[in-house]
């Protein structure tokens, strides 16, 4: 029985959850306007939209976190007023937020029963068994006795899901659940969601990723600019038309690859090692990137990618090996020397590392510039105004504080600075993470343009779509080593997945 057949069979009676004419504004900014949403029993329903389209707000309203300014919510056909998430849970509506709400020092089981009004002053003796059996039922493997602090992000997400199932929710919202997961974890999450839906419960998947919608959802509601623009069965649609609905125009996310053959060796890292006491070691990394080439560094987060990037950018000093940029040895010479040699770095942590969040756009554009002792503000501001226009940053002006910008505009400011300095080597980490489709399109186009102009680019990412969409060559990083190297054309995805999981041994 296919997913759509299943939902049709279960469709009798009232929908599980309805919202009618929902409206919500925050200090004058409209987040939801006249939103209608209908969720059937047993369906996996994707809520698709760009960042800021209002999908998370809708989820928060429908689970009691926010109260709507207008409109009504019906649960199983009866109007309800949800004052708090607790009210939501009482009506069996639950949400797994993008940022988890877990107590790290507590065990899995303790987290699961946390906040449950049915629990007495002492935990039940059957607690662990109960949590374990709940997990088994949905193939959610979690050890109830493990401490949350010791769990990976994927495991923590499972704890959040078990928590909701323990509260016996009929409707489970998940806000951008795949943002923190590796490809195998995503596949297993989708299996779990299907198992939940098969019991007649409903799942709402809040996302901006088209591939996920097509892979797992029965139905999709598309939001744009605080309104619902369409609600269709996934079998009646395709990614291209969904993207058009979501963005309001045609978008081009087709893979881009280098046209010309690669040129000279612009970035050379030889036998790079890092053996800090409190951080991931990097062991014997050799990496050559040629002009006009993008090399994707794939891998699960925390396998030394950050350390590698920071060594290349001169922020960390390698314990052995050397780095050449344009033939200049910059090993251990610091970030300024790396820049002077022609290297630009777009870190994954944009707000906080790449940019100083409390300073203005103009100040941030000057962050890495060689400045005179006494700086004139006027020239910096006019330069900033020009950059804002060139990179399409939506801001009130060069004095706008960077923290106040949206995620996509933050990345535009960072790219504006790093790409306009004329760098021939770029190290970019997760450049499209958290961005919406227009932002992703913009970043990919920009990086592609630089490759065509002859830049050598190291693209570090956990997101294989991103790597396949841009890279010419792929290396996989695992436990501080490069364990696999392959060209995109001859790449075997299974082998890549195995390498990311550490199943390929690159030798000593």
């Amino acid at each position: 029985m296919s997913a759509t057949d299943r939902s049709r069979v279960l469709e009798g009676g009232n929908p599980a959850l309805e919202g009618h004419h929902l409206g919500k504004a925050f200090a004058g900014v409209i987040a939801n306007a006249d939103v209608d949403f209908t969720l059937q029993r047993g369906e996996i329903h994707a809520l698709l939209g760009e960042n800021g389209a209002g999908k998370s707000t809708l989820g928060a309203i429908l689970t009691g976190l926010y109260q709507p300014d207008e409109g009504t919510i019906l649960v199983a056909g009866r109007p309800v007023w949800l004052r708090s998430p607790r009210d939501g849970l009482a009506h069996r509506l639950g949400m797994v937020h993008q940022h988890f709400h877990l107590v790290e020092a507590f065990s899995v089981a303790e987290n699961v029963v946390l906040g449950d009004p049915r629990q007495g002053p002492f935990f039940s003796r059957h607690l662990h068994g109960m949590v374990a059996s709940l997990g088994e039922r949905y193939k959610l493997t979690v050890d109830p006795r493990a401490r949350v602090a010791d769990l990976s992000l994927g495991e923590r997400q499972r704890v959040e899901i078990v928590k909701m199932l323990y509260r016996n929710v009929d409707v489970l919202f998940l806000d951008e659940p795949t943002a923190v997961l590796t490809p195998p974890e995503v596949a297993s999450l989708f299996g779990i969601l299907r198992a939940i839906a098969a019991e007649g419960r409903s799942v709402v998947l809040i996302t901006h990723k088209l591939g996920e919608v097509m892979a797992v959802a029965d139905r999709v509601t598309v939001m744009r600019d605080a309104r619902v623009v369409a609600s269709v069965d996934t079998k009646d649609t395709d990614p291209t038309s969904l993207a058009r609905l979501m963005v309001g125009r045609d978008v081009d996310l087709a893979p881009r690859h280098g046209a010309t053959g690669p040129g000279r060796r612009v970035l050379v890292a030889e036998d790079l090692c890092l053996d800090g006491r409190h951080e991931r070691h990097v062991e014997h990394v050799d990496l050559v990137v040629r002009a006009g080439e993008i090399v994707g560094v794939a891998g699960v987060a925390g396998n030394g990618q950050l350390q590698l990037a920071e060594m290349l950018a001169g922020i960390r000093q390698p314990s052995a090996g050397r780095i050449l940029v344009n033939g200049v040895d910059i090993t251990g010479a610091g970030p300024r020397a790396a820049r002077a040699a022609g290297l630009g770095y777009v870190p994954e942590d944009r707000l906080g590392t790449g940019l100083a969040p409390g300073l203005s756009i103009a100040d941030n554009l000057q962050l890495t510039a060689e400045r005179p002792l006494v700086a004139g503000g006027r020239r910096a501001e006019s330069e900033a105004t020009a950059m804002i226009a060139r990179f399409g940053v939506k801001a009130r002006g060069p004095r706008e504080i960077v923290r106040r910008l949206s995620g996509g505009n933050v990345q535009r400011v960072l790219l504006a600075r790093e790409l306009s300095a004329g760098a021939q080597v770029l190290v970019v980490a997760s450049p499209t993470r958290g961005l919406d489709v227009s932002g992703i399109e913009f970043v990919r186009r920009l990086l592609d343009e630089h490759r065509r102009a002859g830049a050598a680019i190291v693209l570090i990412s956990e997101d294989l779509d991103e790597i396949f969409g841009l890279a010419d060559r792929i290396v996989v990083m695992y436990a501080g080593r490069l364990v696999l190297e392959t060209s995109v054309a001859s790449c075997d995805v299974t082998e890549l997945g195995l390498a990311m999981a550490g199943a390929v041994d690159a030798g000593p």
Binding site: A27, D69, T353, L367, T368, L373
Partner: protein, 364 residues
């Protein structure tokens, strides 16, 4: 009906002034309650305080004299706290500056001509404060030791050192002629800061204001100031940009200590004219933190706030001499505390506003 906090869509600049003003009003109302409970007429007392601080010539003079050390210590705190370096040691650095300043003044005697002599002893104060801050500064820059603990503890050392120099030893700072009760040796006449226009207000006030302008310009327009702003906002971004983070920490803490040392030098050479441990250790350093916080760590904001706080503490003292009497001078301190709490608590209203949620929606 229910009250909700709601984020403001925009933050008009006038809020940065109007919100604290309302908060000061609230603090005065709280103080009024306190006065009323003690059987005083709050209106009468507030009018009297305002008159004593700002309406008479001596009142204004006293307010400005009290404000002078607070401008320095306020600046010292502002230049550290603004960049998330919590130097709470201005008290000790002030005393170290005073000891250094008095020592140099006594040592050079009448040897240097007026202006040069004054410059040298002020520089001595600056160095004294910076030296006192040097240990915490190096520890923080090199090993990441919390400067809160180290600067705080050194305050006690400085206070005890000053007491030892006057009460516990036959040091050069002690007046050999004072046999009954030990006191500091009077500084040579040449090394006194000149007083302004027949008042007792001394040059320290103008130096303090000049310092504030200098600090403002330093932060706003220079490269080291820019580096400090980046560091204060995000140390990770500073490292990313290749800024020497340890150097920034070191410079800021030394600068902060040096300015606090100037407070001591200004007090010694402008007001007391001798090393007077009891008169120095009255909490200028800690009050400076309050001044800086009220000024939102803005160097130019420190000056008016210091004058306001100085006037407030003066007014407290004048109240004691009111006819009918028995108004505790502590009322000044009570008001200071109330104002600080109210202003700091009110900060949320710059970014949030209160909104009444209509009952109709709740009962739906």
């Amino acid at each position: 009906m229910r009250l909700d906090l709601e984020r403001r869509a925009a933050q008009p600049p006038h809020l940065y002034v109007s919100v604290p003003l309302v908060a000061v009003g609230a603090a005065l109302a709280f103080g009024a309650l306190f006065l009323w409970a003690n059987g005083f007429d709050p209106v009468l007392i507030y009018v009297e305080m305002a008159r004593a601080s700002f309406a008479t010539r001596y009142g204004i003079e006293d307010s400005l004299i009290s404000a002078t050390p607070l401008i320095f210590t306020g600046l010292a705190a502002a230049m550290a706290f603004r960049f998330r370096l919590y130097n709470v040691g201005a008290e000790g650095q002030l005393i170290a500056g005073a000891i250094c300043c008095a020592g140099v003044a006594l040592a050079i005697g009448e040897a240097l001509p007026g202006a040069l002599g004054v410059a040298v002893i002020l520089a001595a104060g600056l160095v004294g404060g910076a030296v006192w801050a040097a240990v915490p500064a190096v520890a923080r820059a090199r090993f990441g030791t919390s400067e809160i603990i180290t600067t705080l503890l050194l305050n006690y050392v400085a206070v005890l050192l000053a007491r030892y120099l006057i009460f516990g030893s036959k040091s050069m700072w002690r007046d050999p002629l004072a046999t009954n009760f030990p006191q500091g040796r009077a500084l040579p006449r040449m090394s006194g800061l000149p007083e302004l226009g027949g008042t007792q207000i001394h040059l320290g006030l103008l130096i303090g204001i000049a310092c504030a302008l200098l600090m403002f310009a330093l932060v706003r327009w220079t490269r080291p100031g820019f580096d400090a702003r980046v560091f204060g906002d995000s140390p990770a971004a500073a490292r990313y940009a290749g800024i020497n983070v340890a150097g920034v920490v070191l410079c800021l803490l030394l600068l902060s200590g040096g300015i606090a040392g100037l407070a001591g030098a200004s007090e010694v050479s402008g007001r007391a004219h001798r090393l007077d441990p009891a008169g120095l250790a009255v909490g200028f350093g800690y009050t400076g933190i309050i001044v800086a916080a009220l000024a939102r760590y803005h160097p130019l904001g420190v000056v008016p706030i210091a004058i306001f706080v100085g006037a407030l503490s003066n007014a407290g003292t004048t109240l004691q001499s009111l006819p009918g009497g028995a108004v505790p001078s502590a009322i000044g301190t009570v008001l200071q505390g109330a104002i600080l709490i109210c202003v700091l608590a009110s900060e949320i209203h710059v970014t949030y506003r209160l909104r009444w949620r209509p009952a109709a929606l709740l009962s739906q």
